[in-house]
Amino acid sequence: MDDNVNQAFQQAATFQKMWTDSFSDMAQVWTRYSPAKPPPDAMREMRAGMLKILTQSWEDFVRSPQFLEYMKKGMDGVLDFKKLSSDFFTRGHHSTETPAREDIDGILLAIRHMERRLLDRVEEVDSNVSGLGRRLDKVEKNSRPAPTPVPREGVTKPPARKAPARKAPARKASARKAPARKAPARKASTRKAPVRKTVARKTTPKS
């Protein structure tokens, strides 16, 4: 407990020193004041000097470990409070048998997982269909009868070469690793017909 109090005092003292120094530096700016200059110009000069010092002090302040520690504690406090209030409202909703935000988030997450699984499957089917297509092309190419050459006089026809037994092409393992293109599946369902409407300027929905 004593340690905590001491630490808190030390931190406060560090901040105090930082800002006291800053204000003292700001006050020193006024030593450069010259009555020979017209007052508005002199004031602007003093103001610029003071703001420069204030900017530097702020930079030092927000980079100090003490500030970062305070920031962390402050944010933790806010998040804990938000969580507490959120839990409270969730209980309230549940007691009246109405869905809370947590439930809606859960549904959205479930839909998202389902979408991912479906897209993975579609991708798999897509790669299988492409593989089949490639194999069919090869089969078609090979089964096409070659044009019969017209035998020339005095030329002996070479013996027909036996076509080597063809193995089915091994399925590329990399096909599944190919760029995860959710796109084709998504595209088909979500792409809208190109909008041809010309607008005078870009319409941007309000945030």
Partner: protein
């Protein structure tokens, strides 16, 4: 050498400057009532466009030109998920898109849309291998081109880089603007604040779901609070009577405050794998079933960085050029901040015409 002023001269100078300042204040005051009216007239985007493709909330815009495109390969713009993409086409004279359209490119922009709680489970895989891949496929079909040029800004630059690494065959040229690649640097405050020691991203996303736009907006404000909360109001006041200043200021502010929430899972993976574990530079970044390997990028690369970028410091983007396998790669360091890189006067005048030429040569 300036001679010392007599007391009479000093008094006279004081008097003149006070009168001048008094009148300037009256002019500023007179301009105030019109600010609200000007704010209502702020336009978002200037180049005529049409929506050519939609998927869920993502929309693909085509920018219409009076003339036929000079270059065949379409150019696709990709922006971050935290702000709206109309920064590319902010206003006349400040539009990157207009620069490319006028240079003869067929320009498209992918707007991710605004996610709601139902989309909290969207991941980088959905964005990169879903929406972006589909948009690229659509463009290839529409433009009868085997490849597209990709330009990404900020987080969009990182997305474009990852996409190119996974689908190099579809990309002709890659252009990145202030793209975060190496997150080990602690120059940027965001990198420091997301350190796993101080930020529990899992707890954060589990509780909030989508990361609220206000949270992101406040985080950006706190990066430079003195500039954002003190200097900015003073600048508005002091320049409010100047022609065009308020219009420019309001257009910029409208965009800066137009943050959008980021889907929770997207944020979780982005923060964890990039900001906390820095997996992209190690070629270990998982995106769905893929592992992003930057060495697979072989296309020409143009990497643009902003010298005074406080959001994505140059040290975070520079490593890209040595991590890719491209032989044709270039890097331009622009003397500007994060936003000035695209819409700043210097970039508009000196950088973008050069980038248009670079891309045109590689069409």
């Amino acid at each position: 050498m300036t001679q010392a002023q007599t007391p009479e001269e000093t008094a006279s100078n004081w008097q003149d400057s006070m009168i001048e300042e008094g009148f300037a204040n009256l002019r500023r005051l007179a301009a105030m009532p019109f600010i609200a009216e000007k704010a209502r007239k702020v336009k978002k985007g200037v180049t005529p466009s049409e929506v050519v493709y939609e998927e869920d909330k993502a929309k693909l815009f085509h920018y219409i030109s009076d003339t036929k495109p000079k270059y065949k390969t379409p150019l696709l713009f990709v922006f971050a998920l935290v702000n709206r993409p109309y920064i590319f086409d902010l206003k006349e004279g400040r539009s990157v898109i207009a620069q490319f359209v006028n240079a003869g490119f067929d320009v498209y922009l992918l707007d991710w849309g605004v996610p709601n709680q139902a989309e909290r489970h969207l991941t980088p895989d959905d964005y990169i291998n879903g929406y972006l891949l589909n948009a690229v496929d659509y463009l290839r079909e529409r433009c009868d081109s085997t490849k597209v040029n990709l330009l990404g800004y900020c987080m969009g630059g990182t997305i474009a880089t990852m996409f190119t690494a996974m689908h190099q065959g579809l990309i002709k040229n890659l252009l990145t603007l202030a793209a975060g690649i190496d997150f080990s640097t602690r120059e940027g405050l965001i990198n420091l604040w997301t350190d796993p020691k101080y930020f529990d991203v899992d707890k954060f996303v589990d509780v909030v779901g989508n990361v609220p736009a206000e949270f992101l907006q406040n985080a950006f404000t706190m990066l430079k609070p003195v500039q954002n909360l003190i200097e900015k109001p003073i600048t508005i006041w002091e320049n409010s009577h100047k022609e065009g200043f308020i219009e420019d200021f309001l257009t910029m502010e409208a965009w800066l405050n137009d943050n959008v929430p980021v889907p929770g899972e997207m944020y979780r993976q982005w923060a964890k794998y990039l900001f906390q574990q820095n997996l992209l530079v190690q070629n270990r970044m998982p995106v769905g079933k893929h592992i992003v390997d930057l060495r697979k990028i072989t296309c020409p690369l143009m990497n643009l960085l902003a010298e005074r970028d406080d959001l994505v410091p140059p040290s975070q983007s520079e490593p890209l050029n040595r991590l890719v396998s491209s032989t044709d790669k270039e890097m331009i360091v622009v003397p500007s901040g994060h936003i000035g890189l695209s819409i700043g006067g210097y970039a508009q005048k000196n950088v973008w015409p050069k980038v248009c030429d670079w891309l045109g040569e590689r069409d």
